[in-house]
Symmetry: C2
Subunit: 202 residues, 2 copies
């Protein structure tokens, strides 16, 4: 009996995915501005015309990458925030951050942090998009922090939204230092100190 | 009586300073990789040959910028850590961070954070240099945190070095968010929450 796989991707979709994967890798490594269409031609082995057929320009390509990364990352954060109690959800989230960076070999960092630093002063659309990602991330953390505070599982002398921002800022700084040192230590110190400072129950 | 000013700069030194100032501005705005020699020709109005006379290449230029920024920034941090008590020194340092970013109009961020994110995976010399800056910054903070802990002016259930790293990481994340939002709020939230979380006396 012949098996028909309806989810099989078309040749065009496979090419598009290949461009996105190579562009993401290059942009994480070199930065957006420094990645040229010629770099992509070399990395993918495709012709320039083929790249432009799939993406009208580098800006569109970057927005597609950010859009996919935003969906993926927010899903990863949501699924990382799992557990029976709010404290367990936050503890699992901290573990997840470490595991995620470990799986990347502590290279590449955070595409949103990188884009924030690279594009904040020059591209309004990307800045808005990255800001929206951080707002959504902070809101996901804020909800759980508020629950933890209400249940006496975290200190409550700081508003939940400020505590959530503090957590996200420290993690972004921790990712930067951990990438710089190519070692888990700074990020491990970062989440360990966060747990103690916010008075998180085990 | 004729006044002789011995500190007057030579024409060559003035040109060199001009190149460094424009290069710093461009690199903070666009990133290192994306700043080309042609950008510098446009920004300074100098000929390419003149640029190469002062700096053999972009890497040398960047190392000179980082070297100057490192000296300046460590001096700024040291003078920011002033006050009679350790708690006063840390509080003044936090105020100084806010004032410094305000004076930059919340643009440009931190050249070391930017370079860490841009160059961590590709240039060993710059990575080493930036890592050394963060090590020295953390050490300056660690000493004052330790004094504050010993004098009962900060909580002491976290080693001073981890607390110092936490402070530096949160500030770097805070600078990133404040630059993204072009608003003082994230960095203000960052230092306010740091003061409370580390139990710093006023």
């Amino acid at each position: 009996m012949k098996t028909v796989c309806y989810s099989k991707k078309s040749k065009g979709e496979i090419t598009r995915d290949k461009i996105l994967a190579e562009a993401t890798r290059l942009i994480n490594q070199k930065g957006f501005e420094a990645t040229s269409i010629n770099d992509l031609v070399k990395a993918t082995g495709l012709k320039k015309g083929c790249l432009y057929f799939h993406f009208p320009g580098k800006d569109e390509l970057m927005m597609t990458i950010l859009d996919k990364a935003k969906t993926d990352m927010l899903e990863t954060i949501k699924s990382g925030l799992n557990g029976k109690t709010p404290a367990e959800r936050l503890n699992n989230f901290f573990k997840g951050v470490l595991e995620y960076q470990r799986s990347c070999g502590f290279a590449g960092g955070c595409i949103f942090g990188n884009t924030a630093l690279e594009m904040s002063d020059k591209d309004e659309r990307m800045t808005f998009f990255v800001k929206d990602f951080f707002d959504k991330w902070i809101e996901l953390i804020r909800k759980v922090v508020k629950e933890a505070q209400d249940h006496g599982e975290a200190r409550n002398d700081i508003p939940a939204v400020v505590m959530a921002k503090h957590i996200v800022m420290t993690i972004e700084g921790g990712i930067m230092l951990t990438r710089l040192e190519k070692s888990e230590k700074p990020l491990k110190d970062c989440v360990d100190s966060l747990r103690i400072l916010i008075g998180l129950k085990k």
